[in-house]
């Protein structure tokens, strides 16, 4: 495509479009997309650090060391490997879901149907 000053709008059409939202008719600038994307990347990297820390960290690499602490009948490293990491995984997804709604409404790209659905 040639260099031009007029922005070109791209929209991907598909057989299985997501439902309508209140921002359906808005064209979003690529600057905004980039800012939104940076915020998303920061959030998900933070959460992935926790994801790694509870499973590979506490459940595997440091499991042996953590096993010296016993909580509610569980050696701690063993607990992380067989119970704790799974609970944390669940919490991580819900935190992400919640925080993404905050980020999306800040940038005006949420997919809520009406005003006021956002948190």
């Amino acid at each position: 495509m040639s260099k031009s000053k007029d922005p070109q709008v791209y929209h991907h059409d598909s057989d299985n479009q997501p439902d309508h939202s209140k921002h359906d008719s808005e064209v979003i600038s690529d600057k905004k997309v980039n800012a939104y994307w940076q915020a998303n990347i920061r959030l998900l990297l933070t959460l992935l650090v926790v994801w790694f820390a509870v499973s590979f960290g506490a459940g595997i690499l440091f499991a042996d060391w953590l096993n010296q602490f016993v909580v509610a009948g569980f050696p701690l490293g063993f607990w992380f490997a067989q119970q704790g990491s799974i609970y944390v995984f669940v919490v991580l997804i819900f935190i992400y879901t919640r925080q993404m709604r905050v980020i999306e409404s800040r940038f005006g790209v949420d997919d809520d149907e009406q005003e006021g659905d956002a948190p």
Partner: protein
């Protein structure tokens, strides 16, 4: 009513329910057939995903594996749940925004290439058939154990039921039967687990019972008691690792990434209405999965304690309830899943570390002095006389804990639900990849919606027939390597999708080269160690970096990434339109993204 009659009733009722749902939810269009019309509620989709995901292996085998592997069983617990975090954060929302029907759809369009699409279809079919053979086998095994029918008949009945709702209802039928199947399987799993937790620890919650004190007055916790008992018998402590740390790390990683890359799981997120629903739905799915996955380690630990206490030192021919070998031991011995060789001829069952005899079990038709089934194998020199198939733990649990017949019937219906729901999900992605990706998008673009729907149903029929054949005649090689499905998904599809969303610069050449090299390396490594063709010794001393074939998908994934980036850096950028597509799928809504090129 006898237990067998109850089982027929439970299984029959569950089948009637699934078929009723299938008739109610007939698919009328390709959109219904591929993605259930795209309007499934996130919670319903969460349940369907959980049933889709939890297979015969999760329901029947996992607790047994943990019972005998102890801490090492954690690779499955973390590996098969951690992948959902990756799905929710990295893949599902963007693929939902992309808004097509299949996984190869995304790869084909994002990498502007029919070759990439066909490579993705090949990966998908290899992954899904490897997986499905085990499911049909699972249906057959449950039938033969609980209803005393040959495995072949069990597989055929399973095929007929799946045929009904997968072919008629497509994704729509599958989704709502999976919701029902989740309810059946989770109830069937939790009920005996709660009873056994109460029996052993007085705590009704298995998740807490695993850490609680054993109610035998010894003052030890479940894990302390297991550690002490196992060390006494010459085993490793339950809470200590047996595999090397690097291998545990690699297997967990490969299973997590593989889970996120499995096509039948990914397409479930194409069925919800919106991008935000895809994230939410992954969260609900993991809640429903976690319910079973946090119970399984408790079930495993309780089963191991129970097994040792009731079996070790018991009198095989005894009549007295206190010291006699329990009935379940003999039931499973009769169908060949428990083996006992009375080495010292004292009629007492001795259980300890080491294998009881050399080679695979080979029963003779004769009975020994105590009435046990005799084996032709050479006994080993150690004191252990018992050889047990670890798959029996969940099936035997209700019998070990002497629970009523209806609980046993429930477990049978639950095991079948787990196997059928996964089989149906796999069949759907196989048939969609043939009718949609190969026909509609590659070789017959002028096919009508109606024609495509017929093609989808026909390919589902063929896929069921192949799956059934593989279930009745399990190929030794495939049956051994469920690891293959995860390794392939980790090394091929996951990196290609991830880079498609997060790396704008990734191009056609890079993605194809990455998928092909990741796939080739992983298949070659697994075939080298797992098949008998190369005469390789499958042990830690011979593995690359000490990583077993189960964990090699992690390395395959790294190879995929490395090759893809190298090739992409030396070839042309993707066209502007594709880079715009990436921007468009990154935002959940809007009429498009404005670009100044």
């Amino acid at each position: 009513m006898s237990t067998q009659l109850l089982t027929y009733v439970a299984v029959g009722l569950s089948f009637a329910l699934y078929i009723g749902i299938a008739i109610w939810s007939r698919a009328g269009s390709t959109k219904d057939f591929y993605v259930a019309g795209g309007g499934v509620h996130p919670i319903a989709n969460g349940m369907a995903t959980a049933a889709d995901w939890m297979s015969a292996a999760s329901f029947i085998s996992m607790a047994g594996i943990i019972a005998f592997a102890g801490y090492d069983g954690s690779v499955y617990l973390m590996g098969w749940t951690g992948g959902y975090v990756l799905l929710a954060l990295l893949l599902a929302p963007y693929l939902r925004k992309f808004g097509q029907f299949t996984v190869p759809d995304f790869i084909g369009e994002r990498y502007y290439s029919k070759v990439a699409r066909v490579v993705a279809v090949v990966c998908l079919i290899a992954i899904s058939f490897t997986y499905i053979a085990g499911q049909m086998r699972g249906v057959g095994v449950v039938f033969s154990h609980f209803l005393n029918v040959p495995i072949t008949i069990g597989v055929l009945v399973g095929m007929a039921v799946v045929f009904f709702y997968a072919v008629l209802g497509g994704m729509k039928g599958i989704t709502y039967t999976q919701v029902a199947q989740y309810c059946v399987l989770i109830f069937a799993y939790m009920t005996p687990a709660v009873f056994i937790s109460l029996l052993i620890t007085d705590n009704p919650l298995p998740q807490l019972g695993l850490g609680a004190e054993v109610s035998d007055g010894s003052g030890l916790t479940v894990l302390q008691k297991l550690d002490a008992t196992l060390v006494d018998l010459g085993f490793q402590a339950y809470t200590a690792p047996k595999k090397s740390m690097v291998d545990i790390f690699a297997i967990t990683f490969a299973l997590m990434v593989g889970t996120a890359g499995l096509p039948h799981v990914i397409v479930r997120f194409f069925t919800v209405p919106k991008v935000s629903d895809a994230r939410l739905s992954a969260g609900y799915a993991l809640v429903f999965i976690a319910l079973l996955y946090t119970t399984a380690p408790a079930v495993g630990a309780f089963a191991r304690i129970n097994f040792i206490e009731t079996v070790n030192g018991s009198n095989y021919a005894g009549e007295d309830d206190q010291t006699a070998t329990p009935q379940f031991f003999k039931t499973f011995e009769d169908i060949g899943l428990i083996r006992w060789v009375d080495k010292n001829g004292d009629g007492v069952v001795n259980y300890s570390a080491g294998s009881a005899f050399e080679g695979a079990a080979d029963f003779t038709d004769e009975r020994g002095e105590s009435g046990e089934r005799l084996l032709a194998n050479t006994p080993t020199n150690n004191a252990n006389e018992v050889d047990v198939d670890r798959d029996i733990m969940v099936l035997a649990n209700p019998e070990i804990a002497q629970l009523p017949g209806w609980v046993i019937a429930l477990v049978a219906a639950g095991g079948i639900a787990a196997a059928l729901s996964t089989a149906a999900g796999l069949l759907l992605v196989i048939s969609a990849s043939i009718s949609h990706d190969l026909l509609k998008k590659t070789f017959r673009p002028d096919i009508s919606d109606k024609g495509e729907l017929i093609a989808a149903r026909l390919s589902a029929v063929v896929a069921i027939a192949v799956a059934g054949y593989l279930g009745i005649n399990p190929p030794g090689f495939v049956a051994q390597v469920v690891a293959l499905a995860f390794g392939l998904a980790a090394a091929s599809l996951f990196p290609a999708i991830l880079m498609g969303i997060f790396v704008k610069r990734m191009n056609r050449e890079g993605a194809i080269a990455g998928m092909v090299s990741g796939l080739a390396f992983t298949v070659a490594y697994i075939a080298y160690f797992k098949s008998s063709w190369f005469g390789a010794v499958n042990s830690a001393d011979h593995w690359l970096f000490g990583i077993s074939p189960e964990g090699i998908g992690s390395i395959g994934m790294l190879i995929n990434f490395a090759v893809a980036f190298l090739v992409a850096s030396r070839t042309a950028s993707p066209p502007d339109e594709v880079q715009d597509l990436v921007d468009d799928i990154r935002v959940p809504t809007g009429a498009g993204v404005a670009h100044t090129h």
